[in-house]
């Protein structure tokens, strides 16, 4: 039972982790994309459509990622090239994504799907408790962990990562130093779109292998909040997403055990507990200030 609970938590946390990691990189470049939910739902419909049309869930994943990137490019064109307001454009992107996905997904409702294959290493996958958690999951789970490591390495150990963070803090100075601000920001926005698309594909191919309208049900917004409360640190996002997953599964278990705690309180618990924990681990104000992208949400137009 413990193994099954851990797997359930990992499944609940993975889409939040992926979407939040993508947004983390976007925000580190100084761009705020409130359209995570919209890109995620496009990933979900793309993933499912790709799988249904080709019968191959891996192609589904690619289609989901591609649609996430496509939507993020639209966002990038508006806020980077045309320098529109990032808040308004992001909100519009969410509404657009929810509507468009409903239209595209029309004919895929009620279709049943192929389950995503899971890793199976004889011996390792059969280990008690952690066997299936570590060695028996789908490819998107392993990708999510690799992306945490990759993003951390990129942001804090590479020259390009340093430049990206510099742009997020002060695009004018970065520009004066000859860094291509818009190119970095475009790439960051596209990475965010790819991650949100992957998160959406996870929803429609792994989490609940089906397509229904609005199936993201607000997970994009939770991912956005995680980024802020994790003070833009990848491993804190990982901790936040898994903690959120653990509390939300835990509260369902508490309900099923009939402990007599009001279910409304239990339903709110994942949000309350995650905010509390992340606020506590972000106690160091100085460190939080260093990690906050100073130019977040502000447009930058190169003067030459």
């Amino acid at each position: 039972m413990l193994e099954s609970i851990l797997l359930t938590i990992a499944t609940a946390a993975t889409p939040l982790l992926l979407a939040a990691l993508g947004e983390l990189v976007v925000e580190r470049s100084g761009v705020l994309n409130l359209g995570v939910e919209g890109m995620m739902i496009m990933g979900a419909v793309g993933g499912f459509a790709g799988m249904i049309l080709t019968g191959n869930p891996f192609i589904g994943v690619l289609v989901g990622v591609a649609l996430g990137v496509a939507l993020s490019l639209l966002f990038g064109f508006l806020v980077l090239t045309l320098a529109t307001n990032q808040y308004a454009t992001g909100l519009a992107l969410t509404i657009f994504g929810l509507g468009l996905s409903g239209l595209l997904g029309e004919s895929f409702i009620g279709r049943s799907s192929v389950r995503m294959p899971v890793l199976n290493i004889p011996g390792l996958s059969d280990l008690p408790v952690i066997g299936r958690l570590l060695f028996g999951q789908d490819i998107i789970f392993y990708l999510s962990i690799l992306i945490v490591i990759g993003v951390t390495w990129f942001l804090f150990s590479t020259r390009q990562g340093l430049k990206l963070r510099a742009i997020g803090d002060n695009p004018q100075s970065a520009h004066a130093l000859g860094i291509k601000v818009l190119r970095y920001r475009y790439l960051a926005v596209m990475f965010g779109g790819a991650c949100a698309g992957l998160a959406g594909a996870h929803l429609s191919l792994v989490y609940t292998p089906q397509w229904t309208e609005n199936m993201t049900a607000g997970r994009g917004w939770i991912a956005l909040a995680l980024v802020v409360f994790a003070s833009w640190r990848p491993f804190r996002v990982l901790a936040g997403a898994y903690f959120f997953g653990a509390v939300s599964i835990g509260q369902l278990h508490a309900q099923a055990l009939g402990l007599g705690i009001p279910s409304q309180l239990l339903s709110a618990l994942p949000y309350l507990a995650t905010i509390l924990v992340l606020v506590i681990i972000s106690q160091n104000r100085r460190l939080t200030l260093i990690n906050t992208p100073a130019s977040l949400g502000k447009s930058f137009v190169p003067d030459r």
Partner: protein, 357 residues
């Protein structure tokens, strides 16, 4: 469906010539529907939309229909008013939370008729209609207790309103009629449509050892999750057999078409009157999906139970029934009053949960 513009033009032309007579016969009815979810959600709203299409088929040219979908309850008044303003003769608003907005619009448009599903407020031009879904839940309980090996079922509940509580109680009453020790684990997801959360709830209940799953939420995710583990489950609002071809036992299907056709006919005849009805299996407003994936004797028992409910020999809320706290609710032979049922806020004995208040 007619394009909005033509409808508008027709409505304007009509209102210039029409004498507002309450019982005049009409040659054509424009019937409008407001849905809380997508028209193809595979559940609640789709059931209404299927019924809408049957209305069109039944009446042919005499009736045209239109609908708006995915209308949030909290901001539904505008959508309902636009329908009323655009020339609808009757507006069916199909979610509990549409009740007060419908009433508000009904007061402003006395010549338009309103039909609100699952509520209790009415007005001279607003009727309320509801289905006794708990009759189907009782049958599900009978089946669950007959096929369960662990003697425990899991129930994924949406939001704590009387209708949901009625369903939970009816399920356990049906189960106890077969196995008096049957118990029920309830998980509230506080949402109607959230596939991920519904799947989580299903996994949690299955991990805790239930071997029958039932749901009062809208997506097929719980049936699908149960199927993936080979556990038997009941569909909700719609036949969900595709999500669990080898595991769905039956499903309560909302079949509103008989009622809609009946009401539109009264408008054509000029005999429409405000009413407040709570219809059951016998009226055809709900029906059971085929009894599948169960032994023949259980199927026979389910059919027998359904027939008894239809004939009125079996009344779900007829005593003796004991409350969860052990006190007597209904004495032997005593039938619960409709008003009490519509506001029901407590569990009967055997539910392993505290009802959110």
């Amino acid at each position: 469906m007619k394009p909005l513009l033509t409808t508008l033009a027709a409505a304007t032309a009509l209102s210039m010539t029409m004498v507002p007579a309450a019982f005049a016969q009409q040659e054509h009815v424009d019937a409008c529907f407001v849905y809380v979810g997508p028209a193809n959600d595979g559940g609640w709203s789709q059931a209404h939309d299927v019924a809408r299409q049957k209305v069109e088929e039944h009446f042919g040219d005499a009736v045209s229909t239109r609908f708006v979908e995915s209308i949030p309850e909290a901001s539904s008044e505008g959508a309902i008013e636009r329908m009323a303003r655009s020339g609808c003769d009757v507006v069916f608003t199909t979610s509990f939370g549409f009740m007060d907005p419908t009433l508000a619009v009904a007061e402003r448009f006395p010549d338009v008729k309103f039909e609100h599903a699952t509520g209790y407020k009415t007005a001279p031009n607003m009727s309320a209609y509801n289905a006794r879904f708990h009759e189907g839940r009782y049958i599900q309980g009978v089946i669950a207790a007959s096929v369960s090996e662990t003697g425990t079922a899991g129930y994924i509940a949406s939001v704590p309103i009387p209708e949901v509580v009625l369903g939970i109680n009816a399920f356990i009453l049906g189960a106890q009629s077969v196995n008096p020790d049957f118990s029920l684990k309830v998980v509230w997801v506080n949402d109607w449509h959230n596939p991920g959360l519904e799947a989580d709830a299903a996994k949690v209940l299955l991990d805790q050892g239930v071997d029958i799953l039932t749901q009062h939420t809208d997506s097929t995710a719980p049936v699908q999750e149960a199927a993936a583990r080979g556990v038997k489950a009941f569909g909700q609002a719609f036949d969900m057999i595709e999500a669990g071809p080898e595991t769905q036992l039956t499903a309560i299907m909302d079949t509103w078409d008989a009622y809609y056709i009946d009401r539109v006919q009264t408008i054509l005849d000029g005999t429409w009157e405000e009413q407040n009805v709570w219809l059951g299996l016998e009226d055809g407003i709900l029906s059971m999906a085929p009894y599948t994936n169960m032994p023949d004797d259980v199927k026979a028992l389910a059919e027998e139970t359904e027939a008894a409910i239809r004939s009125g020999d079996l009344v779900v809320y007829e005593g003796p029934i004991t409350r969860q706290d052990g006190s007597v609710w209904l004495e032997d032979g005593q039938i619960a009053e409709i008003g009490e049922l519509l506001g029901l806020n407590f569990y009967v004995e055997g539910v392993d949960d505290q009802l959110p208040q």
